[in-house]
Amino acid sequence: MLELTGEMPLLLFTEFAGISGGAFIALFIGFARGGFTKEELRRIDVWSVLFPILALVAIICAFFHLANPGNAMNVMNTIGRSPLANEILVFGIFFVLSVIYWIIAIAGGLKGAFRVIAAGIVAAAAIVLGVFTGLAYLFPTVPPWDTPWTIIQMLGILFFPGVLTGGYLLTTCGLADNIYEHEPAGWALRIVMTIGAIALILSTCCIFGLGALMPKITSGAVDVVGGAIFPFVMAMVFSIVAWFCGWRALKDNSKRGWGAVAVVCAFFSAYWCRYVFYAMQISIGL
C-alpha cells in the first residue's frame, strides 16, 4: 500500500473539519424539521460540544503538517489571493461560529426560531469551508486534483459522514423515538446523507480514475495507482456499509447499534476516501 505518512496531518484535518461541519448541517435539518422536546434539546446541546472539539482536533492535526507554525500569521499576507490562505480564514470563521453556537446553546440561549437560524449559520459556514477546502487543492499541475470532483469530495464528507455523525447525535437524543413527530427530519437526513454518499463515492472514483489515466514515468519501484487500490476498496466498502447502517439508524431508533456502527464506518469512509485523494497527487511533470 502506498505510504502517505507526510500527508496524514492534512488528511486528518480535511476529514475531521468536514465531519465537524457536516454535523452542524444535520443539526440544522433536525431543528428545522424535528419538533424535539426541551429535554431532548438540552441533551443535544450538551453533546454537540463534540463537533467544535472535532474541529479543534482538525486544526491541531493541520499544525503538525507545518514545518514552521510560528510563521503562521504571515498567511494574512495573501488572504483573497491564495486559496490556502482563504481556506484557513474560512476555517477560522467556521470554528469561531461553532464555538459561539455551543456557548449560547449551553447557556440556554437557543430558543425557538433562533435555534434554527443559529444552526443554519454554522451549517452555511461549514458548506463554505467545504468549498474553500476543495478550492485549495485545485492545482493546475496536478490533473487528478484539478477538477470539480475535488470540491465535490469535500462536500461529500460534509453531507455524508458529517450529516451521519450529527444525525446519530439526534437519534440518541430522541430523533427516531417518536417517529411521527420527527419523521420529516428523519427523511430529510436520510436523503441528504444519501446525496452526500453518492457525491463522496462518485468523486473518489473519478479522482482515482483520473490518476489511473496519468502517464507512468517512473520505473516499477513506485506504482502510485497500484498502491492506492487497497485504500480505494476500503473507501468503497466503508462508504457502502456506513450508508446502509446509517439509513437504518436514522429511520428507527431501535436500530441504535446500527447508528454507532454507521458513525465508525463513516469516519473510516472519509479517511480512506481522502487517502485515495492524496495518493493521486500525480504531477504533470516530474
Binding site: G6, H65, L66, A67, N68, P69, G70, N71, A72, N74, V75, N77, T78, R81, S82, P83, L84, A85, I88, F139, P140, T141, V142, K216, I217, T218, S219, A221, V222, Q281, S283, I284, G285, L286
Partner: protein, 209 residues
Amino acid sequence: MAQFAFYYDNSRCTGCKTCVMACKDYYDSPLGIAYRKVYDIVGGAWNEHGDGSYDTDTFLYHLSLGCQNCTDPACVPVCPTTAMHKDDADQGIVKIDETKCIGCGFCVIACPYNVPQIDREAGHAVKCEACYQRLADGKEPVCVSSCPLRALDYGDIDALRAAHPDATDQIHPMPAGDITHPNVVIKPSPAAAADAAKTGVIANPEEVD
C-alpha cells in the same frame, strides 16, 4: 530586464552527479535534500530474433535540473505567505523568504519540476536559488563551476536562446513549457531528441524524490 536561466547541454552530460554533490556540499544540505537533481531516463528493450540473435532499441540519458525560475511559476501563487516569490529586481530568480515560510508544502505539490522541498530541520521550504549570492559576488553557480563535462552554463535567457537557437525548454519527462514558461535552455542529446524518448521512465525515482 534580465532573466536568469541555466543552460544545460544534455548531449555532454554523463549523469555523474557532481553538480548535485557540489551543491549539497556548498549549502551543507542534509540527507534527502538536493537543490539540483539528476534524473536517469531509460527505455527501450532487447528484441530476440528467432535465430538466437538480438537487437536493441534501449536508450539512456540524464537530465540535470535545478530551478527553472519560470516566468509563470506554479509555486508562487499557491504560497499562502508570499515566502515563495519571484525577485524581478534580481534577474527574476524565484526565491524563498525563510522568515515567512510556514513549510506547508504547497509549493512542493505545485511545482511540476520537483524543485522545492521541505527541510523540516530548517523549518521551511528550500530550493535551488541560482546561487544568487554568489552571482552578486561575480561568481558562477556552484553546479556550473563544478561540472567536469562543462555541461552547465548560465546567463540571460534571451542571450542563451540566441546563442543556442536549436535548444529547447523541455525534454521528456519534463512537462510542456507552455504551462509555467520555464527559463531554461537545453541542448538535447540524440536519445532525448528521439521520438522514442517519450517512452522513457525515470530509473532512479527514490534518488530524486
